[in-house]
Symmetry: C2
């Protein structure tokens, strides 16, 4: 057995155990009664320990070094696989054990305080805990920066989108910053001058919403022989490629969110399902990172299924499903509903035009915090300033201001930008798919996603992690990640 083969066997075990964790996380969010919480924590902690022991076995450094000597004998995918192994091993071994423990404790404690303090709109109460989280995150960034030979924020980012760098985001977000605030104003003014949105009547039961979601996800290509749809507090995708579990949530009387939730998670699920089977459980066989993952969900949700062609196709189905009648249930009103742009202060409720502005704000603030240029105590003020400048919103309170997202309070720094990088990639990939095959858009207009899925399988899903985010986008679209396709999409949809 060569060093590389030995490593493949070891990483296969790690990949399989990662699948076990997926089941345990899914079950906790979807099925587990509350009494099971302690046992489940024990189970997840034991799996972490076993994975850590496998990853940091004393012979790993030598195996990785020996395999690196033989790259000329490896295929391109094997080389990419080895690169993924090296990266994962460096991340895993970068932090001393006591820092891992300190991070885990700081994050758990702060998250618990945040849950309670947010309800009381009491930012002051969470300041000390968030200061501790930030201090430990900065320690982590520093330690990983040394191990990965990167800047501190880059080292955090690399865990969510391997290879993505702050300098690249600065350039892309700089372009976005240049036009987005004005664009938001133009779209809102234009919508205010247009016809008003008619409120939907009808019988929008949860059972009918579920039936609609199942019908649409099947049309998009979700095969229930290889996955499930369930309910959870926050929608998510989990599982393994041959058993992908997605969730949504239902509100009695309102279907737009549950349906788009299903479509969004179906985009994630199809990516997982289309990953290269020959590289199952290997680092090169997994999704490229959060940017490409989010591009797949947003491509389905924002590009394909909010398109006039799809909404026209879906309108009679929606009317039938919910016993909807009259002009409120006509395609033009449903399209207005799905294209409504508002200055909402809440990120998770934001439309596709406002959303990137939310992310610009968070990116500015978290890079400043990680760099030591913004103190936790100054966060509410900086938040209010940024909301006014970037989104044109006066923040009412901290609860729906800088306390609205769990990310920082749970120790997640470096994650936020991937949402908007994903939105940009979605626009770019969808444009390329439509340009490559006129059947893509024609199919969507009759509820047939086969041509779109075929293009995504060939140019995104089947690539696994064999290419970097930008390499993948260049091969698929002819250009690295940028704002052009996104801007053209927004212009065409909202200002044409």
């Amino acid at each position: 057995m060569t060093a590389y083969q030995d490593l493949e066997a070891r990483f296969r075990r790690l990949g399989v155990l990662g699948g076990v964790e997926q089941v345990l996380h899914w079950d906790r969010a979807v099925m587990m009664p509350q009494g099971g919480a302690t046992a489940r924590s024990d189970q997840l902690a034991e799996l972490s320990r076993l994975e850590h022991d496998l990853m940091t076995a004393p012979e790993m450094a030598d195996l990785l070094a020996a395999a690196a000597e033989t790259t000329s004998e490896l295929s391109p995918w094997q080389r990419a696989n080895l690169g993924g192994m090296q990266r994962l091993w460096r991340h895993a071994t970068a932090l001393p054990g006591d820092l891992v423990t300190a991070l885990s404790h700081a994050n758990s404690a702060c998250e618990m305080i945040w849950r309670e303090a947010r309800g009381r709109n009491d930012f002051t109460a969470v300041v000390p805990a968030l200061e501790t989280v930030l201090a430990r995150v900065r320690d982590k960034a520093q330690a990983k920066a040394v191990a990965l030979d990167l800047g501190p924020y880059d080292a955090l980012l690399d865990a969510y989108d391997p290879g993505m760098r702050q300098a690249e985001i600065d350039a892309i977000f700089g372009d976005l910053r240049g036009f987005l605030p004005d664009l938001i104003g133009q779209v809102i003014d234009r919508q205010a001058a247009g016809p008003a949105l008619l409120p939907l009547g009808g019988e929008i039961t949860v059972a009918a919403q579920r039936a609609l979601g199942e019908r649409i996800m099947a049309a998009i290509g979700f095969d229930t022989d290889f996955g499930r749809l369930d309910v959870s507090h926050h929608p998510f995708t989990a599982g393994v490629p041959d058993d992908v579990r997605i969730t949504t949530r239902y509100k009695e009387g309102a279907f737009t969110e549950s349906l788009m939730g299903v479509i969004h998670e179906t985009g994630h699920a199809l990516y997982e399902r289309g990953l290269p089977e020959a590289w199952r459980w290997q680092p090169v066989g997994v999704a490229r990172g959060m940017t490409i993952h989010e591009s797949q969900s947003l491509l389905m949700e924002m590009q394909a299924c909010r398109s006039p062609a799809f909404v026209s196709f879906a309108t009679p189905i929606m009317r039938d499903t919910f016993a909807g009648t009259g002009p409120a249930w006509a395609a033009d009103n449903l399209l207005r509903l799905y294209h409504k742009v508002d200055r909402t202060p809440i990120r998770v409720e934001a439309d596709e035009v406002m959303y990137p502005a939310h992310i610009l704000l968070r990116y500015d603030l978290e890079t400043a915090m990680v760099a030591g240029d913004l103190a936790v105590a100054d966060l509410p003020g900086a938040w209010c300033d940024g909301m006014r400048a970037l989104l044109g919103i006066d923040v009412a309170d901290d609860k729906d201001g800088c306390m609205q997202d769990i990310h920082w309070y749970g120790g997640d720094f470096g994650y936020f930008p991937t949402y908007t990088l994903g939105a940009l990639a979605a626009a770019q990939l969808f444009r390329a798919a439509c340009d490559a095959d006129a059947g893509v858009m024609a199919g969507i207009g009759r509820g047939d996603f086969t041509p779109l899925l075929a293009w995504l399988r060939a140019h995104v899903h089947s690539k696994g992690s064999s290419l970097g985010t930008n390499e993948l986008l260049e091969e698929a679209t002819g250009a690295p990640l940028g704002v052009a396709a996104f801007r053209a999409h927004i212009d065409a949809r909202y200002l044409a």
Copy 2:
């Protein structure tokens, strides 16, 4: 850290991993789409490997030996825990690796052939595979016999009911054999002379059955903050003590099986839930074995919930639930339904009077097979002879004869007797509970299981594995396992 403390830490990890396996098994039977089968097998195989590595770590033998030197310093529970560790370690290390692999392959192959051949009623087709299984099972019995210093069949039995021995079963089953065939005839004759069973009308939907099951399981004491009820092909109980998952199955138009299934599994679940929390994940903290486990399900199903007192209590609830009217839905007819005794050739459909006769047959045949006294090819003939002698039934075909149960075809020898040992223990424990507290039976008559559950918690559940099966029964009932209480129960219910 003492050797004993070191062992506790190691077995805690094994216990936690056992809980992970429970989630994966439950999910596979209840939630998993078929596409997930291969990944799930990989996950379970990886967990087996990790558990095997933990259990057979080179230092284990020394640790167990060192801890055994210090028993005078251990509490009685710690000593019982150490005994459980030694037993588990001996079972795990008894088999050479190639025999473990051979067993696994033989069992999987035979089970697959059996599924197909059973449909065609073709015993001949499964003979070679079952011969291989039996040969490997006899190898296993021999290897474990050496490691555990037991007879071969005892060594198999010990995996299902630690400490139970063939000689003890021979004695108990000898008593049963002495009266059961005659008793069956008497009960059937008596029922033939009594009023006929009136067929139930009503609206027996699956939703109504589920609602009834949930109501009754809650009355018995199942707390859904610490467990769930779901649907699976075969009812079972899985999970961990604070998160016990039970399943049942529903037939449109017939509720008796689904309801008794829920009650049976609730009995198993309450046992798990009542295990001693201070010994969580330790060998002494788990259920005593299959005999006591089955006693808890059968006590609820057969003793408590088929009693006239409970059926009278449940009659108006059943009528309400299923819109039942008229004399068919009177308590006396429902009681006749739940006490019907028939010469059914199928074990899993058998009533409590016939069931032990099914087990006597299987016990005779599997002990003979393990001893080398019965060849696989001769199984159908021996089966027919035994069915006639013990159950008074002429077997129609092998499909519903010696091919009806999966156990042998999947390599499970030594399991069958625990079903009937459990039924005997159930009668004995229920008798003791009623004798100890008149409130037990009075409570059941008004749907209040609190007194019964309190007695079971104190005398069975909280004991974990600190006592042997017979020690537990002697402490709880004043006598070791025997047939007297069961016979008295059958006489009182069916012949009084």
